[in-house]
């Protein structure tokens, strides 16, 4: 993973927050503090995705969109404006997604992955040690041997593989894998994690973080 992400955000703290997390997740980032700086950046370099605030000095997020489109850069708005009108305006102008502040890091990362996948800028295969996942055929092999996984086990595995080293709470996982509509107990997560550990022999790597959740250890 070495997709290039442009972060357009005028608040230094938020800019740093997004930057730190994206770098840790393996992205290459460039930060712009205001609209004009962002326009200069996209003319100078290639980007796979832009995260844009809406209320920016000089050139605002909505005004930036045509420049991004011209360069074929998909845009996700990250804004404090939670009203429906702004969301609709953002999406209608052609943004790929709209994330309201404050947000969870995992949610931002997952939404980015979805947009990148749609733009065909995601790898077709994920590997972790001797485990390989083919994203197109949705097949999982370990040491060349195909391991049959249930649908939710597969989605859960993908979430872990995409964010190695990141601690994920049971609520995060429920929300991301099972979706907002799913009303279930966090026990469901435990059951599926146990299944993954057993089927893929990940007892050590898929670690329990006491009182919080789970983490897939980073590859050495």
């Amino acid at each position: 993973m070495n997709e290039r992400i442009l972060i357009v955000e005028d608040d230094p703290a938020i800019s740093k927050l997004i930057d730190t997390n994206l770098v840790l997740s393996g992205y290459q980032t460039v930060c712009a503090m205001e609209g004009k700086q962002a326009v200069e950046a996209i003319h100078a370099q290639r980007f796979d995705l832009a995260l844009c605030d809406i209320m920016l000095p000089e050139l605002d997020g909505f005004e930036l969109l045509p420049y991004m489109k011209e360069k074929g850069i998909p845009v996700i708005y990250v804004s404090a404006k939670a009203d429906v009108q702004s969301r609709v305006q953002g999406l209608r102008l052609g943004a790929e997604d709209y994330l309201v502040k404050p947000f969870d890091i995992l949610e931002l990362l997952v939404r980015m992955e979805k947009v990148l996948a749609r733009a065909d800028r995601q790898p077709k295969q994920l590997t972790y040690r001797d485990i390989a996942v083919d994203l197109e055929s949705r097949s999982v092999t370990k040491d060349g041997e195909t391991i049959p996984l249930k649908n939710m086990e597969y989605e859960l595995l993908l979430t872990f593989l995409r964010h190695p080293g990141m601690v994920m709470t049971r609520e995060d996982l429920l929300h991301q894998v099972w979706g907002d509509e799913y009303i279930g107990e966090t026990r469901t997560v435990d059951v599926h994690v146990a299944a993954l550990r057993r089927k893929l022999d990940l007892n050590k790597e898929l670690a329990t973080v006491y009182k919080i959740g789970y983490r897939l250890e980073m590859q050495p």
Binding site: D10, D11, P12, A13, I14, K16, L17, I18, T20, N21, L24, M33, E34, P57, A80, K81, K101, P102, F103, D104, I105, L106, G165, M166, V167, M168, T169, D172, I212, R215, M218
Partner: protein, 472 residues
């Protein structure tokens, strides 16, 4: 029932009653008069007839003394001569002696209808038979020592026709009067009540939410008075409603702005704490995240402090008006902001042209601190900020004058709006919440004063609070 209909019916009933009473008494009196006159005529005629008959006493006083039958014959003869002479279409005569007729041309039997006792001289009676009215007048007299009764029977249908005409005319005038009133009264009443209908329509529309509507009825009567006080009420209600709406809108805006302002530090707190929790941060990264959380939390705290101040000022402006030592106030402000000024090597210059000021010392201190804090932020290094207190005739002022970046002319009106920041990025970096001048504005309002902002971009800003000495 509608008012106009009710009033019409009541008025009609009163008119009907009074007019018919008047007409009744008039007709009754006229009828009485006509009948009395007929009776008098009858009695007079009878008396004249009797006078004629009594001439017998003078012409033949002695010759019939003895013979009663002869006397009766003479009387009968004389009577018939006169009666024949005086007989006409509607009048006939009868002679009664000893209780029997000696002469009678009447179709009627007057003796039976009006028997005359001897002691009675004259009498009259009206009888009605077969649709005709007969007036019977009788007179007792003595002629040739013989007591006789003379009856006069007259047809007085003419009089009764007259009375009938009179009654019919009275009835007709009553009917005409009723018709006229019945048509005119509703018209007049409806016209009189028209403003009331308009008032009803207007009040219904106002109740429906059209608060700007007025009845505007310009008559000089009670309805006009009602309309005017109604319009006055509508004015007051409209004003109150618009005030309330204004307050609600301002509060909503403030709340919306606050929520929005809270989002940035909240995003930092949630984001960085999330990173600390779940991301494999380096030691340096962990410290950085902790620092950012700390900063954002402090910013939130400052924001809530300012909000609390603002809300308590707005809801409950407690004022302690006292005489304040102006120099001491300015010095206190300078001392409080000395550390911030030192960082940029900014010098304060205080000018107290007045010894004392009248106002709330805490609020004025808060105002000056906010203004001076803004001035420090706007000023370049090594600049001078002047703080001045002065008093003129019945008004006093506090000013903060800097040589900073200034405010563009079109933004001066906006700077007192809550959360408005001239330079968003810089102001946040400097820890501002965008509430300082809003608070100042409220302090000024609590003193019934005004905030005067003079500014030129690149040259500096002079902000003064000018307020009256005493509450008017």
């Amino acid at each position: 029932m509608k008012l106009w209909l009710k009033q019409t019916l009541i008025t009609l009933a009163v008119i009907l009653l009074s007019v018919s009473l008047c007409l009744y008494f008039f007709v009754a009196k006229e009828t009485d008069g006509l009948i009395q006159q007929a009776i008098q005529n009858g009695e007079r005629d009878a008396a004249v007839f009797c006078d004629h008959l009594s001439t017998l006493d003078r012409t033949s006083s002695t010759s019939y003394d003895a013979d009663g039958v002869a006397r009766q014959s003479l009387i009968q003869y004389t009577f018939s001569t006169y009666a024949h002479l005086l007989q006409s279409g509607d009048c006939s005569w009868s002679l009664v002696m000893d209780g029997r007729y000696f002469y009678n041309t009447a179709v009627h039997d007057p003796l039976n209808v009006l028997p005359m006792a001897e002691e009675i001289i004259t009498a009259s009676r009206i009888v009605e038979t077969g649709g005709t009215h007969l007036l019977i007048s009788a007179q007792n007299m003595t002629v040739l020592q013989t007591p006789v009764t003379v009856y006069r029977t007259a047809n007085i249908d003419e009089t009764y026709r007259h009375i009938d005409d009179l009654t019919r005319m009275a009835q007709l005038s009553l009917l005409g009067c009723l018709l006229l009133c019945g048509v005119l009264l509703p018209l007049i009443l409806r016209k009189t009540l028209k403003p009331l209908r308009k008032l009803t329509q207007v009040s219904e529309k106002i109740a429906g939410g059209d608060y700007g509507l007025r009845s505007q009825i310009q008559t000089r009567d009670e309805v006009g008075d009602l309309s005017r006080s109604f319009d006055h009420m509508a004015d007051t209600v409209e004003q109150k409603i618009s005030d309330l709406e204004d307050t609600a809108r301002r509060r909503e805006m403030l709340l919306g702005a606050l929520t929005h302002e809270m989002k940035t530090p909240m995003t930092a707190i949630i984001g960085f704490s999330g990173s600390l929790l779940s991301m494999p941060l380096t030691e340096e990264g962990r410290l950085e995240a902790a620092h950012e959380i700390h900063e954002a939390a402090k910013r939130t705290e400052r924001l809530s402090q300012k909000m609390m101040q603002l809300i308590s000022m707005r809801e409950n402006p407690v004022m302690l008006k006292k005489s304040i030592d102006a120099r001491e106030l300015l010095d206190k402000v300078c001392a409080a902001l000395e550390p911030a000024a030192k960082e940029k090597d900014i010098a304060f210059k205080t000018e107290a042209q007045a010894d004392t000021l009248t106002g709330d010392v805490d609020l004025l201190f808060s105002l000056l601190t906010n203004l001076t804090d803004n001035a420090i932020k706007a000023s370049p290094e090594h600049a001078v900020i002047r703080l001045a207190a002065s008093r003129g005739r019945n008004q006093q002022s506090l000013s903060v004058i800097d040589q900073g970046s200034g405010i563009p002319a079109d933004k001066i009106a906006l700077v007192t709006e809550p959360f408005y920041r001239l330079d968003k990025a810089r102001s946040r970096k400097l820890g501002g919440a965008g509430l300082g001048l809003s608070l100042c504005q409220m302090i000024v309002q609590a003193h019934s004063g005004r905030l005067d902002i003079q500014s030129e971009v690149g040259k500096g800003t002079a902000i003064s609070m000018i307020w009256p000495e005493a509450e008017r």
